[in-house]
């Protein structure tokens, strides 16, 4: 055992870290010890839609699995679960990211936003959501949350994209119904709604 680690210092570290439960992960966090090679903690703290969530995750667990099956955020869809379709797109630090292709334990420093986090507190739709409703952008709707998140990410980086720029920005999101034209109409409408 590390001679510098006392039980008192360990407990103080846990309190300082804000963790509600002790795990080997928090032990290392509290002590500042370097982690053994290959170590992956189980309980992680992630920031989802502005809330800090403590989640017990498997080492190989993807963010999409955590969101859907641990946190009940089923708006994030799994179309392929292997980075082909974009249905699981969420924002990580404002960047559209395939949630099926990143591991949850790598998200500790990320600010994750899902489709459930876009509405305002009074239930007002985000301009992209409102524009997608007005333009009847979705067809079956399964890819829609991913399209919404990709569009929100685009408009944060570029509030006034051209249709061509929007086409490229959303090109990682497949729509089998072929509603691309209607989604682009929605993105352009959203730029109007946001002024």
């Amino acid at each position: 055992m590390n001679p510098q680690l006392t039980r008192r210092r360990f407990i103080k570290g846990v309190i300082a870290s804000g963790a509600a439960a002790t795990t080997t992960a928090t032990w290392y966090s509290a002590t500042g010890q370097s982690r053994p090679s290959g170590f992956v903690e189980r309980l992680v703290r992630i920031n989802v839609n502005g809330q800090i969530r403590n989640v017990d995750v498997e080492p190989q667990e993807t963010l999409a699995s955590t969101l859907r099956y641990k946190l009940g955020l089923t708006g994030t869809k799994l179309g392929c679960n292997r980075g082909e379709c974009g249905a699981c797109t969420v924002l990580v630090n404002d960047v559209p990211t395939y949630a099926c292709s990143v591991l949850t334990h790598s998200m500790k420093s990320g600010r994750i936003e899902t489709v459930e986090g876009l509405e305002s507190a009074n239930g007002e739709l985000h301009p992209v959501q409102q524009a997608f409703v007005e333009e009847l952008s979705p067809q079956c709707g399964y890819c829609t949350p991913g399209q919404v998140m990709a569009a929100v990410g685009l408009l944060r980086a570029n509030p006034n994209p051209s249709r061509e720029e929007a086409r490229h920005a959303l090109s990682g999101n497949i729509c089998r119904c072929g509603s691309y034209d209607s989604y682009l109409d929605g993105v352009m409408r959203a730029t109007e709604l946001t002024g």
């Binding site: 955020l73 292997r82 489709v115 409703v133 009847l136 067809q139 079956c140 509603s179 034209d181 209607s182």
Partner: protein
């Protein structure tokens, strides 16, 4: 005609749920005590299960049970086409053999890895022509084809017959099916230009975005099944029989379906929903079966591949004199599909040929199971026939637009081998509208203009699908609050037809849309039967049923008012949610009052008596459960006369790069001729969605299989490439003719399927145009095919085949 709702845009009630993620698809549900099922699927393309040793797996902690084909079919597996729930006789890689239920998926997967299945390997085949060889393998146990009402059989040609067909000649074998009209020989003799050649259409996977996951549990003797289907009540009606549960004891929950393009319309196409249902029954726990993308490839089904020979003759004036079509269909690993006949039917309808002969043979291969997929037959033949028309036009000195006008179907015409009259047909108007909006004539000066290695190609194409059925039922209800409740059994597959068809009822009763509730999403809300929602039929079929049900309610309203307030029924009309005397509008009752009065009287007013005798069993169950709970309008729709067609016309301009074989679609317009437009934005969605599908059919999507081991190589979105934003135009133009059809009370017909075919026809014609009239006779036409052609390699040196890079 001035309508209150029809032809007006509105927001279907499920759209907010789609943009917020709140609407639930099957896999989004949970149930207390829910456990998980995983499938063990066949790793080889054709086999027989000799033994299953699951002893180690079943002893694992957390494993709750196993389901095999013997559990599903205690009297033996049905010897029929189509997927089964589970099988001991797999005929394609990925076919489900057994399922394990466990407390979590990881445990279930681990358990499956500990199961030892002994397979007897059987010969497999990937190409129908290989199977037709005298020593060719048979895809099925008992043959390579399925004869209706007779069972599996073996069909063989001589080696010379196969070789001759592969070499591009007319098949000489006896076809399984022949349909013909007109004097073929005489019509060809009148032709001054005759095209003859072979072609292939690749099969390709359905690939809806939502995999076919399902949750099942049993409560109080009822089966609750959460799944996704194009249809709602039609699917539930069928899946009850597949699972073996009485219709009245099945609750199918399906608020939204993540895409459906034919393969998700019918119970027979998704029998694996029976696996969680039967596992749940066996272990007495709710069972969720999540389906992976790879599993979706095999469970999800695919379009048939067609290998064919076509001969088309044109008279000097451009009239299509004759078409002779011979097609060998790839029926895949489970049989099914009738695309080839529909291809001939489509040519007959769209080009009104004087004489048509269709000959066809359907042969199985150990590849994905096949079935209906957006315009089955009509759409595969679209990219084949359209370039032929263009070359004929050039040869005869007729414009490519005019040759289509010369041959166009129109009101009063008949179509298909059965010579069925159209209910109405305004294809000439659609051609004119598309050409005008696109500027077809003005663009002709750009035709084949070059810019370095790039060349401009122009294409025009037409699409067709029969777009309407009838004979279904409708129910509308009203409570004492006066709100109209449309009990709608139409599935929510993304077309919003469940909402559009409900507006026919609102139209009859002149109800404000905000006073209308659509009752749908689960069958324990008591919904009437509908037709399966394939074949572009929902709008035609279900505007008829809900219009009729609302008319029944309207008649009952007038009866009650006349009885209570005096006068005759015909003295009454409705407005502003009141039924009132025509001569004095102050004498009347509100809808709420008349509904309350109807509930008080009971009998026929609440569905307790005097019901239409022809109601389907499913509807009878729904009506019996609703009886007495509200004021009811109920209707059984009689069969209509004639063929209500869905037509589309597309114009495309492309810029093709001869160095890369790639092309960019510079402009595209897709125009509908489908009767009255119910919902303009919904129509736009169908037209742009169909356009994307047409681009995929012409350029990208195809099955690929490893010829050595029969392993599928196109199980993902990138292998059988679905078009992306970057493969489609920056903006797709749309338009419609909007003339009413007399066989529908609001004039509407469907359009979903032809919207793909015309785009594929136009795009392939544009590619042909850019390449100086070279006909590939194939879909898709890939970049390598274009490069090979430009380089001087004869594309037809690659023999006809399916499930490889040629087809």
């Amino acid at each position: 005609m001035a309508y209150m709702h029809i032809g007006k845009d509105f927001t279907p009630p499920d759209v907010p749920g789609k943009v917020t993620g709140r609407i639930k698809y099957a896999e989004d549900y949970t149930r207390e005590g829910m456990v998980y099922a995983r499938l063990l699927t066949s790793p080889i393309p054709h086999a027989r299960v000799v033994d299953i040793d699951a002893s180690e797996a079943l002893e694992m902690e957390g494993v709750l049970g196993m389901l095999t084909a013997d559990d599903c079919y205690p009297d033996g597996e049905p010897q029929s086409t189509g997927l089964k729930m589970l099988t001991n006789e797999p005929t394609l890689v990925g076919e489900p053999i057994l399922a394990i239920a466990a407390v979590d998926e990881k445990t279930a997967e681990t358990a499956i890895s500990k199961i030892s299945v002994t397979f007897e390997r059987l010969p497999f085949v990937l190409d129908p022509l290989d199977s037709l060889q005298p020593d060719g393998a048979d895809a099925y146990n008992g043959g390579n084809t399925f004869v209706f009402r007779q069972g599996f059989a073996e069909e063989k040609w001589s080696s010379d017959q196969v070789a001759s067909f592969r070499a591009g000649n007319e098949p000489t074998a006896e076809p399984q099916q022949t349909v013909a009209y007109g004097d073929l020989e005489a019509s060809f003799s009148e032709s001054s230009y005759v095209y003859e050649g072979t072609f292939t259409n690749a099969g390709y996977p359905h690939m809806s975005m939502e995999p076919r996951s399902a949750l099942a549990y049993w409560e109080d003797g009822k089966l609750y099944l959460h799944g996704g289907s194009q249809s709602l009540t039609a699917f539930a009606d069928g899946i009850a029989g597949v699972i073996g549960v009485p219709k009245e004891d099945l609750v199918f929950v399906n608020a939204a379906t993540g895409g459906g393009f034919g393969q998700r319309a019918r119970a027979g196409s998704i029998p694996v929903y029976g696996v969680p249902a039967k596992l749940s029954q066996k272990i007495n726990r709710p069972v969720m079966m999540r389906v992976t993308r790879e599993e979706e490839f095999t469970i999800g089904g695919a379009r048939q591949g067609l290998t064919g020979w076509i001969k088309v003759g044109f008279k000097p004036d451009g009239v299509m004199a004759a078409c002779d079509l011979w097609i060998v269909s790839d029926n895949g690993g489970k049989g099914g599909g009738a695309d080839a006949y529909s291809a001939a039917d489509c040519i007959s309808v769209l080009y009104q040929a004087d004489a048509v002969r269709f000959r066809g043979t359907a042969i199985g291969t150990n590849t994905a199971h096949r079935g209906a997929q957006r315009g089955p037959g009509q759409n595969q033949i679209a990219p084949i026939i359209s370039p032929i028309l263009d070359v004929a036009a050039d040869e005869l000195g007729i414009s490519r637009f005019d040759i289509r006008k010369i041959n166009t179907p129109m009101n009063g015409d008949v179509g298909g081998p059965q010579r069925t009259p159209f209910t109405s047909a305004y294809m000439p108007e659609a051609l004119e509208l598309a050409a005008e909006k696109f500027g077809w004539e003005e663009r002709q000066s750009r035709r084949r203009q070059t810019n370095g290695s790039k060349v401009i190609g122009l294409g025009i194409g037409q699409g067709y699908h029969n777009a309407g059925r009838s004979g279904m039922d409708g129910i509308v209800m009203m409570g004492a609050d006066g709100r109209l409740k449309v009990h709608n059994g139409v599935g929510n597959l993304g077309t919003y037809s469940y909402a559009s068809t409900s507006r026919a009822a609102a139209e009859v009763l002149k109800m404000p849309w905000e006073r209308v509730d659509i009752i749908t999403g689960r069958t324990d809300l008591h919904l009437p039967i509908t037709s399966p929602q394939d074949g572009s039929n929902s709008i035609f079929t279900n505007t008829r049923t809900f219009y009729g049900a609302a008319q029944d309610m309207l008649a009952k309203m007038k009866e009650i008012a006349a009885n209570d307030l005096g006068g005759a029924v015909e003295d009454y009309d409705i407005s502003n949610e009141r039924v009132h005397q025509i001569s004095d509008e102050t004498v009347g009752m509100t809808f709420a009052e008349v509904a309350a009065r109807g509930i008080e009287i009971g009998g026929k007013y609440t569905g307790s008596a005097e019901l239409p005798e022809e109601l389907a069993e499913w509807t009878q169950i729904a009506v019996s459960r609703l009886a007495g709970t509200g004021f009811m309008g109920v209707f059984h729709d009689p069969q209509h006369e004639g063929n209500p067609p869905g037509f589309t016309v597309t114009c495309i301009e492309i810029e093709l790069d001869k160095e890369t074989g790639k092309y960019e679609i510079l402009d595209l317009i897709n125009v509908a001729e489908s009767g009255t437009i119910m919902h303009p934005k919904g129509m736009e969605n169908q037209l742009v969605g169909g356009a994307v599908w047409g681009i995929g059919l012409s350029g990208y999507e195809r099955h690929l299989y490893d010829p050595q081991n029969g392993m599928p190589a196109s199980t993902g979105y990138w292998q059988s490439k679905v078009p992306t934003y970057l493969d489609t135009p920056v903006k797709i133009q749309t338009g419609w003719v909007d003339l009413p059809d007399p066989e529908n009370p609001v004039g509407a017909r469907g359009v979903g399927e032809p919207a793909q075919g015309s785009v594929s026809a136009a795009l392939t014609a544009a590619i042909t145009d850019a390449l100086d009239g070279h006909i590939f006779g194939a879909s898709p036409i890939t970049a390598d095919m274009i490069i090979n052609h430009v380089a001087g390699t004869t594309e037809n040196s690659v023999p006809l085949a399916q499930n490889n890079f040629r087809g």
